[in-house]
Amino acid sequence: MKARLFLSYRRKENKWAVGHVRDRLYAEFGIEGVFFDNESIDSGESWKGRIEAEVKGCSAVVMVYGSAWAGPLDDGSRRIDNPDDVVRFELVQAHRHGKPILPVVIDEALPPSPADLPADLQFLSALHFGHLSAAESLDRQTSRLIMNIRKAVFGRTMTAHYLTQALWIALLATSVVWLLRVGGVVGLVEDGFARTVQAVAPPLHAQASEQPAVVEINDREYSEIFGGQTPLDPEIVAIFFDALRERSQEAGRCDARAPVGINVDLAPGEAWADSAALAGLAQALRALAACRPVVMACPQRIEGHTGSESDQRWVSTLGADAKGKQDQPVRFASTRVDPLLLRHGAARTEIGAVMADLAAGAELDWNAPARECVCPATHDAIDRCTAGRAQVDAALDRRSLIVPFTPQRGGSLARAVLPGSTIAGSQMVVVGAGYGVQGRYSVPTSQAEFTAPVTGSMVQAFIADAASLRPWLQNRWLAALADVLVAFVTSSMLMTLWRSIAVNVSNFPMRLFNYLGVGLTFLGVPLLCVGVATYVPAALLPATSAAVVAVATCLRSAMSGYEVLLNGGVGWKFFQGAWAAMVTEPHRWSARTRFAVLCVETLVIAAGLVAVLA
């Protein structure tokens, strides 16, 4: 819908004011969108007929009212009192056809009183008159006029205009965040956010009934049962995993969707390389894998790309290379934790994530070439995978995963295998090493250390919990959509606030506390994300992302708010309007700047889309 405005004025009126209003209307609605008699009526044309037609077809009438509006004549009479007066004719016709009339008072003139108006123009006294004064910013005043015109002409379209801008801001903020994420900048912010959550949040017990059970060899077990020896004695380990299988069978958990994750490096090393005990352990693990899927830690030396022959034999004995030996080979997964794991589905190579996939019944392609680098068992494979692994290491900051997460189910290894134990009946069981654990969590490739008594098994259980109970969190499209939604809500609320301030500027002092309250509510969006992350640990990373997006949205919305307050309305335009403004008012730097910013923002949104796609 295009606006068609009728500009009603007295020719003897203040020419600069009429000219300024005309130019702004031209810039805003185009020359063809404004009827200005001097330029729109051709010579010889019947002005009365044309004016009647234009008034009838226009969207609104802008009435410029100054000290000369009544048209005082030398004899003391007034033109406005003449029924054939053009200005009177225009306004009467507009009123007759129900057209919105927007009067603007110029300079110090006072709006007319009923006594100043002829009978058929008495309706004007009931209208609110805007002001245009050379003493104030003309840009700001005419922008308010334009906002009122839009409001009068478009009605609900006006709201749509605001919402469109809010959507634009949402897209822009989300794009910026995703681009910064690709560049690694947001990771730092998100890590900081996660640490903030850790600082303020108490340890929580997850409520999910199917939360993974965490079974850990504690210090006492390590000392008393395993003799404090590493690598762990395979003969002893075999006894426990055989018992874990028995407990699983008793609990009816022999199920392809009930994985066991072993977050302990069981690679036997040279000492046990060819022993009967090792064969016994392999047999026990295969038997467990035949009952329920087993996802094991890739040997540390292989992950460190210094794998020995014995470690490689260990992997090939139990791993995917064991095809033909059994239907369910033990799966090896990296123990490395990618903080972005839950936000992109491509790196599902960690124990917890693989467990979640298995629990969800996902079909994993274990023969995919990319999986070779999860646990490369040969020297050649290690060489091929080294470069890619280095990149993963560089992006690794597991501090963001140290969350206030206390597993509700689980216990020590001995307790887990006791006859009658129900721990093995959990859908997911993470077996790990709790011995020797300490609070300093070192971060690869960084000197930074983080203090938290969290074991690797708890981290893997957290990932498994988050990924399995909320698999949608891993979908990047949904994540991007959620980001846009958060940004849209935030920017809509902010735009509403700005608009309310702009419209009710005269009542600003009265509404100040209301505005402050609403403003504090907006600050609550990131805080709300903190709350979500606190009470739903699995949602930490999406909440973190949303918080960052919300902050970015607030920043961009603040810029829009400045424009709204300055100009009295939304100054944002699509390309056509922005281009028209720049053509009609090439001397105005703001028009050029707006057009340039619009172009840049468009490019940013396009790049953000590419970032999501990539």
């Binding site: 002893i236 123990t335 020590s412 721990i423 300490q438 609070g439």
Partner: protein
């Protein structure tokens, strides 16, 4: 072997006391909250089959004789326990299944439910009780000694062990035994750490010493004494028990071992042993294994070491007599240091 210890997630191994305490508290809280054993497990005493863990080479507590039968002091005690259980429930077990265990495997097998009662030479310790194990009243008391090969230059005292340790040769003990812990305590008092290896059972430990693959065998004195006494064709001075003990607090209270969740079994075991102790019958059983000739171990259990029937001639110690009079299932407690006089 492992560049970063055993924690596969890249954490530093060094841990302060505070953080260890925090983790311990977290795990304890976890264990306390977790229903780890279902109440509907059939009690051992009500089952038709009971699995008894016996050691093959723990002379004279539990070992295989020439007929490949498990015999020994603890085996006899367990036989009395089983008889009492059967008498109490009014019917015999359909099967009493003997399961060979070693010092290394006895605890895992018990926790995993592979055996229900272990009858050997197992020390009652606080640490093991915290694992979920329960012990009967004490059946024997021993200290920890060091056995070396005799000959010129052989050490005479435990304190000389390190000085005289043959270059490149480790000290051996049996995996899963409390001696391993005592050795760690001993190491802490020495300026240079000992090199310690763990053999799979007592027979293998002794064989390593006899074959010159270890410089000393650290184990409970009674087991070392029995091992040397059983050697055929030995010359006096081939093996020497060093003077002194590894630690004055290395006092081993042997007991029968079971799971702490099997309260009914523990009740019957203690009741039986107390009956034997208070009736004096346990002294007759003791005399049979420690003061009278006993059967030679099976040849296959010591890889041709040539074991023979033997007599240990080991009288009941005063401490054991006291414990027979006042049975207790408490582990040995390190005496509190005397109060400082000012």
């Amino acid at each position: 072997m492992f560049t970063r210890g055993f924690d596969v997630d890249g954490r530093d191994r060094a841990c302060g006391r505070a953080c260890r305490l925090a983790v311990a508290c977290a795990l304890l809280a976890l264990a306390a909250q977790t229903p780890h054993a279902a109440p509907n497990v059939v009690p051992v005493t009500e089952r038709e089959t009971i699995n008894i863990g016996y050691q093959n080479t723990s002379l004279p507590f539990s070992y295989l004789d020439a007929r490949n039968q498990h015999v020994g002091y603890s085996v006899d005690l367990c036989a009395q326990v089983i008889a009492d259980i059967e008498r109490q429930r009014g019917r015999p077990f359909r099967e009493v299944h003997p399961v060979p265990v070693s010092s290394k495997t006895r605890i895992p097998l018990l926790l995993a439910g592979k055996i229900d009662l272990e009858c050997g030479s197992t020390t009652n310790t606080t640490e093991r009780r915290h694992l979920g194990l329960a012990f009967s009243v004490t059946t024997f008391v021993s200290d920890v000694a060091v056995l070396v090969r005799g000959g010129p230059g052989a050490p005479q005292r435990v304190q000389d062990l390190q000085r005289s340790q043959e270059p490149g040769l480790p000290v051996v003990t049996t995996a899963g035994s409390t001696s391993a812990r005592h050795l760690r305590d001993l190491e802490a008092t020495l300026p240079v750490p000992l090199r310690v290896v763990h053999a799979v059972d007592h027979g293998e430990s002794f064989r390593m010493l006899a074959e010159g693959r270890a410089s000393a065998f650290v184990m409970d004195r009674v087991l070392l004494t029995a091992r040397v006494a059983a050697l055929a064709n030995r010359a006096p001075g081939d093996f020497v028990l060093l003077e002194g003990t590894v630690s004055p607090h290395a006092v081993e209270h042997y007991a029968l071992m079971m799971r702490d969740t099997d309260a009914d079994l523990k009740q019957v075991v203690d009741k039986t042993l107390k009956r034997l102790m208070q009736g004096g019958e346990i002294e007759r059983i003791y005399a049979r294994w420690f003061q009278q000739p006993i059967a030679a171990p099976a040849a296959g259990t010591d890889a041709g070491m040539g074991l023979q029937p033997l007599t240990l001639d080991l009288p009941i110690s005063d401490e054991l007599k006291r414990l027979f009079r006042t049975p207790s299932d408490a582990p040995y407690a390190t005496p509190a240091p005397p109060a400082t006089m000012r």
